[in-house]
């Protein structure tokens, strides 16, 4: 963090040529296969999936397995030598802008390849068990592969155009997947909501890309950074607006306030979709965009002044959306609000210039949130309900799910030494550093809300954990542990959730920082030489306090047992019915606000959706029916009359000629057939007579 603007630019100009990394050789040359293989496979499944072994699952998992292996190999090579390269082919030319399709292979994209590959592969394996018996099994895997493939197109993009293509592919695949159970109107509405909300933000993204291209003269990220170093004045003038519009696009995909409304509703899709959407694809796209353009947002001459807005949006999201998770009864919605909250941490981290900390949280979050969602899916699969009122005491029935969920929870709330502890701590430390060094009010705001957010996270996760796994079982279906095809991915993700945090321990290891800062453009950020003991001393007790409070309010000791004596004929042995309930709390003012999600959904419904669907839609329909349709109607009427005239000519004049010809031929035939009575001898005699006649004529003349 450098306080004044000019020295930073000079510093970057001096250091620009000093980034040393290999080009990855053949390995990077064929990295274009990473997005192409899943995309091709998605269509292959669509056409041939039903005839393939495992009905498409095998093909989908093979594609993701390929990405995972390629990602791991690239990661290993990147950690040894570093890879920074990009290649592209021209696909078109619009004015001065060349439209390119290509692949950028550097630390950041390799990290995303790795994440999408590994987490995606495990989720796909799990989906084999979860989706079994689904009527649209093959279709599900086709769109699921498209989802992962779209994300890979997005993260491999060396320019804004390809990024937008991937962005929209992810959007359309998410629409298909959220609405997978389209028999219920509710799910269709959720899919529409996700798509529409994203489209509003996407409009800003498109405008941002246009402003960026118009001012920088290129869509290519590397060239944009080159122009930045060159001190392009147009870019500096419009940088703020380009940055703001692109950030609004990122807010939509990454579900930042006030675009967060779609993500909890997106839980309508099958659980593996939620897991992948929240872990590696879709919601990480916005954070990825901020990370890809990080140098642009870093420099005060360009979009640096936006950082205050980014931090405030992130901080608001991480705290207020976390609060909503407390009142949810649907276990997937608890996790969904938790994701929104954690995305707030990542976005805020980008705002305070904590590039590797934000990405580190994205990385660890993918593992533990993928794990938590798959665990929730396993529970839902067992009890046939999304609601925690039908759960409880599952610890005894589903030990593997319980222990892995516990590890996921520990990682999410940030308990030492699980993954979330290290990544969240790094974000808070960066915010604190920024707050003290640069005395930024926004950073202080974020520090306060981050620590409060840690408390909230611990509080609602303990509530979910207790209501689901502790106490007495309240459901009606006999629960059972899931099959091994579902538990093995859980165990593997639990390993990730437990240990990925060790990649970046301040002062000890900085593997992850090295990984994601291997880029063509130097990333300036503060490097921590040691863990910030003061912050750990504050945050860890706060987390423990949150866990304790959650246990105190919702622990099994709070169970309410109702015993009712049922009517029976045998008076000596009355039938006792016991029902168990968990307490519900209601705080005046606060609870209604939280239950109604701050009335934001209602506001959008009444201010935007209803008027659009009501008067505006009606007016549009009227204009369409009466004004726009009038033109084609008139044309159609004219055409019809011309056609009628043509028909008259056709039936009378043109057909007459043919009828006359046909009639003449028929009459001739009727006459000629009188000559042919069917006697072979007569025919022969006649033809011989004809020959004699011809010869006679020949001789005479």
């Amino acid at each position: 963090m450098v306080a004044s603007a000019l020295p930073l630019l000079v510093f970057i100009q001096e250091n620009h040529e000093e980034v040393h990394a290999g080009d990855g050789g053949t390995l990077a040359e064929f990295a274009w296969l990473i997005p192409v293989v899943p995309m091709v496979m998605a269509f292959a499944i669509l056409f041939f999936g039903k005839f393939s072994p495992w009905k498409g699952w095998g093909m989908a998992t093979a594609a993701l397995g390929f990405v995972a292996v390629y990602g791991i190999v690239l990661t290993v090579v990147n950690l040894q030598d570093g890879i920074v390269t990009q290649s592209a082919i021209d696909v078109g030319q619009i004015g001065i802008f060349t439209i390119e399709w290509g692949v950028v292979v550097d630390g950041l994209s390799i990290m995303m390849f790795f994440l999408v590959g590994i987490v995606g592969f495990l989720v796909f394996v799990y989906a084999n068990g979860y989706m079994r018996g689904d009527p649209r099994y093959t279709w599900f895997f086709a769109s699921f592969t498209l989802f992962a493939g779209g994300m890979l197109v997005l993260v491999s993009a060396p320019n804004l155009i390809q990024l937008i293509v991937g962005w929209e592919l992810v959007g359309v695949a998410s629409y298909l997947l959220i609405g997978h159970y389209w028999e219920d109107l509710e799910n269709v509405d959720a899919a529409n909501k996700a798509f529409m909300t994203n489209k509003v933000a996407d409009a800003a993204l498109f405008l941002g890309a246009i402003v960026m291209a118009a001012s920088a003269g290129t869509f290519n990220f590397a060239e944009i950074f080159e122009r930045m170093i060159g001190g392009e004045t147009d870019l500096a003038t419009l940088g703020f607006w380009a940055g703001l519009l692109l950030f609004i696009g990122a807010m939509g995909k990454s579900a930042q306030f006030p675009f967060h409304v779609w993500l909890p509703d997106a839980m309508a899709g099958p659980t593996p979709v939620s897991a992948l959407m929240h872990a590696a694809t879709m919601v990480t796209a916005g954070v990825y965009l901020l990370a890809r353009l990080f140098p642009f947002y870093q420099l005060p001459e360009f979009a640096g002044s936006l950082n205050t807005i980014i931090v405030i949006i992130g901080a608001i999201t991480l705290f207020f959306m976390g609060l909503l998770a407390i009142v949810q009864d649907d276990i997937k919605r608890v996790l969904a609000y938790s994701t929104v909250s954690q995305l707030g941490y990542m976005v805020a981290a980008m705002g305070v210039g904590a590039y590797s900390a934000g990405l580190f949280h994205l990385f660890t979050h993918a593992f533990f949130k993928g794990l938590l969602f798959l665990g929730a899916g396993s529970v839902i699969h067992a009890v046939h309900s999304n609601y925690m009122k039908d759960m409880g005491g599952l610890r005894r029935y589903m030990p593997v799910t319980f222990w892995t969920f516990l590890i996921g929870t520990a990682a999410l709330v940030g308990l030492f030494p699980f993954a979330g502890f290290w990544s969240k701590d790094e974000i808070i430390a960066s915010a604190y550093f920024n707050a003290t060094e640069n005395a930024e009010a926004a950073a202080w705001f974020m520090v306060a809300l981050s620590i409060a957010g840690a408390f909230i996270t611990a509080f609602y996760m303990m509530r979910a954990l207790s209501l689901t796994f502790f106490g007495t079982y309240r459901g009606t279906v006999e629960p059972h542990e899931s099959k091994s095809i579902m538990t093995i991915p859980l165990i593997l993700l639990a390993v990730g959730a437990a240990f990925t945090g060790l990649l970046n321990i301040p002062g000890l290891t900085s593997v992850f920082t090295g990984w994601v800062t291997t880029r063509a453009f130097p990333i300036m950020e503060h490097h921590f030489d040691a863990p910030d003991i003061l912050l750990i001393a504050i945050v860890t007790p706060v987390v423990l306090l949150g866990l304790g409070a959650g246990w105190l309010l919702w622990g099994p000791q709070r169970e309410l047992v109702h015993t009712t004596i049922g009517e029976t004929d045998d008076i000596s042995a009355p039938e006792r019915q016991t029902t168990v309930e968990r307490p519900t709390y209601s705080v005046p003012v606060l609870t209604p606000i939280l239950v109604n999600k701050y009335y934001i959904d209602d506001l959008y419904m009444n201010a935007l959706v209803r008027p659009t669907m009501g008067p505006i839609a009606d007016a549009t329909v009227w204009v369409d029916d009466h004004v726009i349709d009038a033109v084609p109607n008139l044309v159609a009427l004219g055409s019809k009359q011309i056609a009628e005239a043509v028909v008259v000519i056709d039936t009378n004049a043109v057909d007459g000629v043919y009828h006359a010809a046909a009639g003449l031929t028929g009459a001739t035939g009727r006459f000629l057939r009188l000559l042919l009575p069917g006697n072979v001898h007569q025919y022969v005699a006649l033809s011989f007579a004809g020959v004699v006649a011809i010869v006679a004529l020949f001789i005479i003349f």
């Binding site: 009188l674 069917g678 072979v680 001898h681 022969v684």
Partner: protein
């Protein structure tokens, strides 16, 4: 031996053949009569070839073609007659009037 004798032989054979074609009702015999007519033509071809002393022997070559053609015609003709006989248990051409109007 003059050319006239051969022409007369050819004409006689042709007439006999034609008479056979026109009077016989059995399809096999009609085919046999056609063969006689073709043989008459061959007699004429060879006779004129020798008479004109053609260096290329065009008439004799042509007679060979006619023989080959006659063989093919007889093959196909007898096959047709056989099929008709199988279907109708008769080879009488007077009864073959299905195509008549």
């Amino acid at each position: 031996m003059t050319i006239v004798q051969f022409i007369l032989l050819g004409a006689a054979m042709f007439s006999v053949g034609l008479y056979g074609v026109l009077t016989r009702r059995n399809a096999v015999l009609i085919l046999a009569s056609v063969e006689v007519m073709l043989a008459a033509v061959n007699v004429n071809l060879v006779a004129f070839d020798v008479y004109l002393a053609d260096q290329a022997s065009t008439g004799q070559v042509f007679a060979l073609f006619v023989i080959a053609l006659a063989a093919a015609e007889a093959g196909i003709g007898i096959a047709i007659v056989l099929m008709i006989f199988r279907n109708r248990h008769s080879a009488d051409v007077d009864e073959l009037d299905l195509m008549r109007y």
